[in-house]
Structure formats: structure tokens, C-alpha cells
């Protein structure tokens, strides 16, 4: 770390490589520290909640002798730091332990449920960004006109509507009354087991296997939750885009562009929009991270077998291995997304190079 700070900012390009290596090393240390902290907190909280993991395994009808035996088997009699060290050494070997509910390794469970959440969050983000960004740009350019007001109302509704309520209403209207969508789940029951699970992303697996009927079935199921999440994401992204654009349109270089004789469209898209890409990427990455662990409500409403549902039931049953594994995964993914957006900045903003 000290090497980076003492190196001259105006150093010739030759030193760029060791500098980059130093940067990578630094961020690696930061990431490991973050993950360690995350695990420590989750582990401690998990051991302190009043739920009893032993009861979760043996049920509340078992006798005291069985209870004591299982208590010892699970290592709960050892001091908490010993337990934590044991857990850590397992995690390093990518062993997250077994889930009490599913009786399967947590890693296997995560490989099954996490793609479902990613699928949902990704589609929602595509919908949210695809609609929200143009809406925000138009609202900024036509500030104060009816377009702006409509965008504001749409955004406000998106902010303030509780997702679980919207989900229930959508099921009520589109499933119960119109029959246009399935009530929940990822695919129809009769489509289950047809597709060979390669990536656990059902849309991708179905497309790879050429099962277009399953693909349609999956699309049919994902559309309602994805649109609802996407709407919330759109509300957020359009407001952010609007304020970023307004800030840019006030800048002096916009006057330069107008003095050059450019029309509105190139000024907005070629000049102003190019300048907000970095900020936009940041909020999209944040919104995406938020969706990965924030889909709990919508997954519950739509019986979506994703990480949110998994984590919720794990918490209910004090399935601490599953909780820890899920939290760790969310942490890793959040860090990875932020790291990725850091890398992409370098490509789109010349000032960070």
C-alpha cells in the first residue's frame, strides 16, 4: 500500500504495470478483510439469535440425551471462536457445511437457487435500465414539461409502492381474473425435469437444449416478477438519470456544443450522456446488488425458488450453515459487481486511466 502512495502521480508509463499490480493486491486485501468481517458478524449473530439449531435438527419431541448428543455433534459446546475457526477452515476448502432443511451441502443448494435469483435480477435490471435511462434523459431534456411530470409521477409511484403489495395485486388481476400469467414458480410442473441442468439458468438451459416450449414456459413465469422488480428499478434509475443529466446540461461544454451549431440530439446523447455513463454504471451496479439480496419479498409472493426464498426459510429454521453460505455468496457477488464496475470505469472515463 505504501508503495502506491509514494509513487509519483506523474511517473512515466513504464511504471504503470507494477502500480496496477499494487492496486490489485490492495483491493484483494480489502476484499478479504470485508469478507472476513462479514462472516464474523453473521456467524456471531447466528449463534446469538434465540432460535435453537439443535431443535431444528431433532425436533421438539426428542429427549434430553438425544439433545445433548446432537448438541455435542454439532460442536456447539466449544467456544464460539473455536467454532468460527472450524467454520473458516471449512469455507477455505469451499465446504459450507450441510443444510439442515435440505440435507444437502449448502454449496449444492446455492448452485441451484442462486441462478434463479440472478435470472430474475438481471431481467429486472435490463427492464429497469432499458426504460428508466431513456425516461430520465427525456425528463431532464424536457424539464418542466408534461413528459417530465409524467416521469416524476411514474417514478414516485415506483418508489412508494410496496413490492409485495404490487405482486399480490398483479397475481390477483393477471392470474386470478385474467388467467394471463401463472401464479408462481419458475416453470410449469409438467415442464419440470425436461431440460438438462447445465447452468441452472432455466432460460439458458432451455435455449441450449433447444426446448423452446420450456423456454416459453420459463419466460411466462418470470415476466410478472421481473416487470415488478424492473418497475421499481426503473423508478430509481430514471430519477437518478434525470438529475445526472440536468447537472451535465448546465455545464459549460454544452454551451460550447451549442455554439458549434450542434442540434439537440447530438448535444444530449453525444456530449451530455457520455459524461454520465460512469455515474449511471455506479447506480445500476448498486441497484443490481440491491436486487440480488432484495428479491426476498417478490420471491416469496411468486414462490420463486431463488436465494431470497432459500435464505428466508433458512432463517426460519435456524439453518445457520445455509444462512452463512447465502450471506457470504451475496457479499462476494456484491464485491465482484463493484470491482467489475471499477474496471469498466477505466474504459469509459478517460480521466481515471
Amino acid at each position: 500500500m505504501s508503495i502506491i502512495q509514494t509513487s509519483e502521480p506523474s511517473a512515466p508509463r513504464k511504471s504503470a504495470l507494477p502500480k496496477a499490480a499494487g492496486k490489485v493486491a490492495t483491493s484483494f486485501v480489502v476484499i478479504l478483510t470485508t469478507l472476513l468481517g462479514l462472516m464474523m458478524i453473521t456467524f456471531t449473530v447466528g449463534r446469538m439469535v434465540p432460535a435453537d439449531p439443535v431443535i431444528a435438527v431433532i425436533g421438539d419431541q426428542a429427549d434430553q440425551a438425544t439433545y445433548d448428543r446432537v448438541y455435542k455433534e454439532m460442536g456447539l459446546d466449544r467456544p464460539i471462536y473455536v467454532q468460527f475457526a472450524g467454520y473458516l477452515s471449512d469455507v477455505v476448502r469451499l465446504d459450507f457445511g450441510q443444510s439442515i432443511i435440505t440435507k444437502q451441502p449448502v454449496s449444492t443448494d446455492l448452485a441451484r437457487v442462486f441462478p434463479a435469483t440472478i435470472e430474475l435480477a438481471t431481467l429486472a435490471t435490463i427492464i429497469g435500465a432499458g426504460l428508466g435511462i431513456p425516461l430520465g434523459v427525456i425528463a431532464a431534456v424536457r424539464k418542466g414539461t408534461w413528459v417530465d411530470h409524467v416521469a416524476r409521477v411514474v417514478g414516485l409511484l415506483g418508489y412508494s409502492t410496496p413490492i409485495f403489495w404490487l405482486g399480490t395485486i398483479v397475481i390477483l388481476v393477471f392470474y386470478a381474473h385474467l388467467g394471463a400469467i401463472p401464479p408462481g414458480g419458475r416453470i410449469y410442473l409438467y415442464d419440470e425435469g425436461i431440460v438438462q441442468a447445465r447452468t441452472n439458468f432455466i432460460l439458458i438451459d432451455a435455449a441450449l437444449g433447444g426446448h423452446w416450449d420450456v423456454f416459453r414456459s420459463a419466460l411466462h413465469h418470470i415476466i410478472a416478477p421481473a416487470v415488478i422488480l424492473g418497475y421499481a428499478s426503473m423508478a430509481y434509475l430514471s430519477r437518478m438519470t434525470r438529475s445526472f443529466m440536468l447537472e451535465q446540461m448546465r455545464q459549460e461544454y454544452i454551451l460550447t456544443a451549442r455554439a458549434k451549431g450542434l442540434g439537440q440530439r447530438p448535444i444530449v446523447w453525444r456530449h451530455a450522456f457520455r459524461n454520465i455513463r460512469v455515474q449511471l454504471l455506479t447506480v445500476i451496479a448498486l441497484a443490481y446488488c440491491g436486487l440480488l439480496d432484495g428479491t426476498v419479498l417478490i420471491e416469496t409472493v411468486f414462490a420463486w425458488p431463488g436465494l431470497g426464498s432459500y435464505l428466508t426459510s433458512a432463517l426460519f429454521f435456524a439453518d445457520m450453515n445455509a444462512v452463512l453460505g447465502s450471506v457470504l455468496l451475496i457479499g462476494i457477488i456484491s464485491i465482484a459487481i463493484n470491482l467489475l464496475s471499477d474496471i469498466v470505469y477505466r474504459f469509459i472515463d478517460p480521466r481515471t486511466r
Binding site: 461544454y253 454551451l255 460550447t256 455554439a259 458549434k260 451549431g261 457520455r274 478517460p350 480521466r351
Partner: protein, 282 residues
Amino acid sequence: MANTSDTILTVENMSVEFPTLSGVTTAVRDVSFTVGREKIGIIGESGSGKSTTGRAIMRLQPPQAIVKANRMQFEDIDLLTASEEEMRSIRGRRIAMILQDPKYSLNPVMTVGEQISETVILHERATSQEARSRTLAMLERVNIRDPERVFDLYPHEVSGGMGQRIMISMMLIAQPSLIIADEPTSALDVTVRQQVLSILDDLVVERNIGLIFISHDLNLVRSFCDRVIIMYAGRVVETIAAADLDQAQHPYTRGLLNALPSLDHPKDRLEVLRRDPAWLEN
């Protein structure tokens, strides 16, 4: 020297008003002047309406502003009735504007070359190949060594002086006949100021075009311009040949001149400008 009889721009009784919640604020009131193939300075303190005047000529005033005039004639074009589309083909091609600080007036995420080429591509429908060679030639014309390298630089990678020369190339590449320079050297070091000015001067004289030089630097305008318009509170108080500035009649101009320190006649205490409400009357 330049032929001053050939009028490029005529402005008669131009006013710029800003409607606000507490009534109409008049930023520029009944301003009249003509610009020929000459360098004309507009001088005044902050808020005197000099920048607003410059922008109103290009119809680049803020959207809420109202520009009124008896006549605004630029060459064969009536700026009062020209459509927005016509204005777009005039801006950058026939009237260009140089802004104060290249740190803010250049787009930070576009390369220098891209920004200069954009003007040529826009107005002359040049291919990017032609635009590139035109840009490189123009960069060379403003004394930038190694234009090939500078072409691919971003604004934050060039110095202020070079940035302003880039701004000049961007605005002069399409051969406009009138340039409005809004404090083009105020953000620059004194050492590079002269350099940038002489480049601008060369181009204006060489192409025999008009220059409106907006500034608050009296000495600079005196030595650089042919004629000087002195503005106060949105009005033109005096128009005078730069060489005759010492014989200025208006008390405001006299006050400005007296407030200047001089190496030849050192003073303990500079005169403070005394404002007369009567200046606002005429």
C-alpha cells in the same frame, strides 16, 4: 489595417429581459453597435451584460430570456427572424464563440481531435478522414507541435494555454466571419495569455474577419482591440476607438481608467469608482 467600413453585424436597440417571479429583470437595455472587419472590445464589470450581449447575438441566451431589438442583422441574415434551424447552420460556421475556461468548455470525455472534427463534419459534411486532416492542419495553425499526438489527447491532459488554442481551432476551423470571444484569456496564466492572444490576432487579421472581444481587462482591450464598447448596468455608456481611450468622456470610463494602477505614476491609493445613478437614465 482592417477595412472597418465593411459591416458584418448591426445591432440596434437590443434588450435582453429575464422574467422572474418578482418582475422583469433587464440584463441588457437598448444596446446598439456595429461590427466590421475589426476587433471590437466590449468591456464592463461583472453583471454589466457583456456576456449576455454576446450570447444573444448567437441566440444562445437561456431559454427563459427574451431578446428584443429593432434590428439584428448579420451579413445577409436577420437574426431576429431566423429559424432555429438556420441558427444552427450559422453557429460554428459563420459566427463562432470562444469561451472563458477550456477546463470547463471542452467536453471532458471526448478527445480533442473528436471535438474539433465534429465542427467540420457537422458544417461541411466532411468524411472523418477529411475532418482529421483538416483538424491536424488547424492544430498546426495554432502552433501546436505534434498535432498527431494532441489529436488523441483528452482535455484534462492538456494545459490551459493549449486548451484555449484547441478551443480556437474548434471554433475557427469552419471559417466563420465573426468570432465572439467571451473572456478568452481570463483563465490563463499571464505568460501564456499573450501567446493565445497573438494566435487569435493573427487569425482574425489573416482571414479579415470580425472579432467581438468581451473582457474586463481594460489594458488588454486597449492594446488588443480597434474599438471599445464600454457597458454599465446593461447599457452601452460609451463607444470609443481604443487609441482614444485616454480621452474618454463618460465619467464611468474615466473612473475605470483612474482605478488602474500605473507603473509610471505610482499612487498610494487608487481611486474608487463613484457611481452616479444618473448613468442609468440616458
